[in-house]
Each structure stands twice: as C-alpha cells, then as structure tokens.
Symmetry: C2
Subunit: 321 residues, 2 copies
C-alpha cells in the first residue's frame, strides 16, 4: 500500500483538504470556511479540525506520513509564517508545525501555495519524469516554483520562486514590491486588464474591443481580452503580444539561468490556451541563448483547480515519503 | 586520512592540475601547456599525462576517489564537451570521462570552469556553511555558478549558470549571444572598458581620465578605470556606477528568484575591492524585494588564482566523496 499524506490548501475564503497518495487525490476534496476575520488562531483551529476529519476518514492519524500545507506568504524552516498577507490578518507569525505535531503526532511541511503547485506538476502533471523545472503561475499576480535535481527548491528561508518580480522592462510599470517593470505588471490577469484599459485610452484604437473597454472599463477581464484575441481584434492582439513578450523575457532569463528541462505555464491566464503558449515560446526564443533554449520544453500546466491541495500533499510526500 | 581527488583546470594556454582534499590543495599546482593548436586529442592527451603525473606523485591512481575537470563550454551528463569554444579547436564533441576511466580506472566529473569555481567557494571559501549560493565571476565575460541545497546545480545538460546573459537593459547593448542588454555587456571587464571609451567620446567629459581615454583608447583596462575611480575622476565614476547598477539589477533578479543565503562576487573586476561590492549592494537593494534581500549577504569571493583547479577537484570530491 502506498504512502498517504494529508494536503491542506489555505485560501482567503476556504481551506481545502484532501488525502493524497502517489496517484493523486484519494476520495475527493473537503472544504471548510477559512474564517479569516477570526484571526490567526481561528484559522489554525480550522486547519486542525480539517486535518482531524481527514485523518479520521483515512483510518486515523497513524495511517499518514505527514501533513503538507500550502499557504499565502512564506514559511521559514521552523514552520513560522512570514508575510501571510492582507487577506489573512493575524496569520503572519503563526507557528504551524507545532500544533499539528501536538494534536496528531504528525510531522508537517509547509510552503508558499504557488510554489507548492510546482511540486504537484512534478509528481502528477506536466513535470513528471524531469529533474529540473520552473513553473510560472499566471493569475492575479505572477508566482512560481522551482524544482532542482528532482526536489522543490525553497531557498534557505522559504522565499525562493518570486519569479513574478523579475524585472523585464527598464523603468517600466511601477510595482507594489518597490521595483519598476516586474513581469507580474504585464503578464498577470491584472496586468493584461490594465494594458487593455491603458491602450484603449492612449492609442486611439477603434476596434470593437476598444469601444467596449472605453464604455465599460470596469468589466474588462483577461478572459474577455482573449475572447477578442480569438476574433483578431487589433487592441486585444496588441495587449496579448505585449503580455507574452514580457513573459517571454522572464522565461528567457529563467532558462539562461537554470537550464531547466521544462518550463511549465499555468494559472488562469493560461485558460486562453495555445495562443498564449505559442506566443511565449516565440518571445522566449528571442530572449535566450539558442543552445540552452533548444534543450528546454515550454509546456502548459496539467493540474486544474485542485493543484493547490495536490501540491500541499506533495510537500509531505516529498519530505517524509 | 581524508579523501583525495585530482583537479584539472583547462585553459586556452595552460592546463593546471593539483591534488585536492577537504583542506584544499595538497602540495602545489602543476602546469603543462594546453597545446590547443594540436586539436581535441592533443588536449586530452595532455590532460591524461598531467593526471598521470599527479596520480604518481600521490601514491598511484588507487589513492584517489576520482578526477574533476573544469573546462570552457558545457559538459553533458555523459562527459561530452559542448560549445568548447574558439580557443580550443576540436575540443567540442570530445568525450572526457571514458579515457580517464580506461587509463586510470578513475571516475571523472566535469563542468564549466566558471561554474566549478562556485563549488570551490562553497567548500573552501566565501560559501562555507551555506546551502544556497550564487557566484558571479566578473572577468572578460560574466559567468556564474549556482548552489542549491548544498550542491552545485548543473541543470539537466550542464548548462545552468549562464547568469551573464540575464537581460538588464531593454534594447540595450547588443551581445554576441543574440540578445540585447545582457549584464555581461556592462559588468565584465570588456563592458567596463567599452563604456569608458564610449562615454569619453559621447559625453564631452573633460576629466583627466577622459583625456587619457581619448588619446589611448586601446590601453584602457578595467583596472585603469578603477585607478581613476579611486581619484574620484568624473568619467571613471560614471562608468563604475553604470557597471554596478547593471550588475545590481542582475543580482536583484537572482535574489528574487533563488533567495540564496549568499551572493558571491569574484573575478578580475573584483580586484577593485569594496568600491564595487558596496555599489552593487546599493543597486541590488533597489532591484529586489526588501524582505528577501535582507536575508541574503553579498560578499566578495575568497578564492584567488587557484580557484579553477580547486573547483575542479571539488567537483570530484562532491560527486564521489
């Protein structure tokens, strides 16, 4: 019988949990409310009771090798949350390993939620069979995860993988991180929407999509941009090409630096599919040493909405399995 | 008695060899001519006879755990040289592991020479005691090496660590690699000299150094630039600040991506000392997430002219030790 772990994916509104083994999720995903407004201890209590439910459903805590937790922010080597974020007041500073050990006698391994998804791809998805891989998650922001020599690379303080803050445009768009021109400002859903609104204002473009953006700037989404990309709309194509150019620059930097076997692109923006993938390949090739580029595949992520909880479980399977 | 390895550092004019153990070089460095004009087989023969001499001086091949080789270019997983470079005609395509195994019954591990230096710093120098480290070598070009989880990270095809080709200036200086704005174009000795010549022409600067550059552009070296930096010469300071700004951008990208415990700066340009180190720290801080930056030290390399042969020996100690 294969080893089993409990995976916990902490979000702003819900905590998802599942039993994970070498084949993936066993028996479905359980959700409980985060109750973030209750503060750090309430969040931890809700995580503990979810672990308890899952352990019970799996025959007791003794049946599991450990618990993996994907969380916003970073996790230091001792299991303390750093930069837990504005959506989870009181979460920063919480110690997450000790209460799990006390209550269940189980070891825990926690990491940034987006970073953990790289491990889900490595074990169950687009990264199977490779040793060196970098995942980009293109969502509200741009995050990522790095796998070196077959293992998730967390860095000394759990902070590795902030590839969304690679600067790709000198003196570019200001970023809340304090830099200018971070790839996140261009290739995230947020960046794509902002570009559509900005370009519609400044470029005098008269396309159908430009009119729509003018009239209802608040209703623009990256999904809508890509609906108009499919219609060859001038403004939408311009926004798309810029986002993929900028992302291609960051992918090129990553390939030159890491020479990974694969770069995996995931997150909501990738719902647009091959149009993004092909454009990113085109631009990355221009921003990379050809000799290294040709040894790296750029592929779409395979994990869907359960990638967070799978990645969390994978953290424990990797560390304690 | 500690384990011993033979380290071989292949250069364009000389091959350096030494016996390396956990304390560093035992008994000095031996040099033989590369005889690069003789082609790949001649180079390999010279390496083999140097290994033979060193093995004999150390009590026979049986006393050693293996051979490490630092070489220009890349080395694939099977020991075949890729991109051996214009200075070593016929070196590309050579298989280096098999002849060493046949002749001496010893295993070999080879890697890019600059990448290997990171391992020398990790075992013997500025990287002692850390798990995650990135070295920048600022010489004629800019190279580097990456250490993750306490081990040299070579990538799947021996090509990781090309951090000199991180793009730091959109549409910047053209680079032979095909990109524009690579950090190597600015922060290498070559880039520093070019900036001095270009700025002296274009900026109408009238400083002492500017006059000297105008009169003898062919005699400018990065060392000379830093002699004038020490005199607060306007042109030299301008060149220095730009080089360090550009390098700081690349260091910032590396820190955001890897969250290393240390960034180590070495190579000829670092002979200028703390003036470069302090300026790079200043600029890197501006191009990095503060939370991650504060957990990373930026320090000078400690290995000197024998860093190549130490790194080569360290390859074998790491892999076979």
């Amino acid at each position: 019988m294969g080893k089993k772990a409990i995976g916990i994916d902490l979000g702003g509104t819900a905590i998802k949990g599942a039993i994970i083994d070498e084949n993936g999720i066993c028996g479905g995903v359980t959700r409980v409310p985060t109750e973030a407004e209750g503060g750090g201890r309430r969040i931890m209590d809700n995580i503990l009771s979810l672990i308890g439910k899952l352990a019970e459903s799996g025959g007791g805590a003794g049946e599991f090798i450990g618990v993996g937790i994907g969380t916003p922010g970073f996790v230091d080597a001792d299991g303390v949350i750093l930069n837990g974020g504005a959506n989870l007041p009181g979460w920063t500073g919480m110690q997450v390993y000790a209460p799990i050990a006390e209550r269940f006698g189980l070891r825990a391994s926690a990491a940034n939620d987006v970073t953990s998804v790289a491990l889900a791809e490595l074990m169950f998805g687009a990264g199977r069979g490779v040793q060196n891989m970098v995942c980009f998650a293109l969502g509200t922001g741009v995050g990522g995860g790095i796998v070196t020599n077959g293992r998730l690379y967390k860095g000394g303080h759990g902070m590795a993988g902030e590839i969304g803050h690679i600067v790709v445009e000198t003196d570019g768009e200001p970023c809340p991180c304090g830099q200018r021109g971070c790839v996140e400002r261009y290739a995230s859903a947020t960046g794509i929407v902002k570009a559509a609104v900005d370009f519609a204002k400044s470029e005098g473009c008269k396309s159908d999509f430009a009119k729509l953006v003018h009239e209802n700037p608040g209703e623009v989404t990256s999904k809508l941009v890509y609906e108009y990309v499919a219609k060859n709309d001038e403004l939408a194509l311009k926004v798309h090409e810029r986002a993929c150019d900028m992302l291609g620059r960051a992918v090129g930097i990553i390939i030159n630096t890491f020479s990974p076997d694969r770069v995996v692109l995931g997150g909501g923006v990738m719902m647009a599919g091959s149009v993004v993938l092909e454009a990113v390949k085109k631009y990355a090739a221009r921003h990379c040493w050809p000799e290294i580029f040709k040894l790296c595949e750029i592929v779409p992520a395979q994990m869907g909405e359960d990638s967070g909880v799978l990645g969390a479980g994978a953290l424990a399977l990797e560390e304690f399995g």
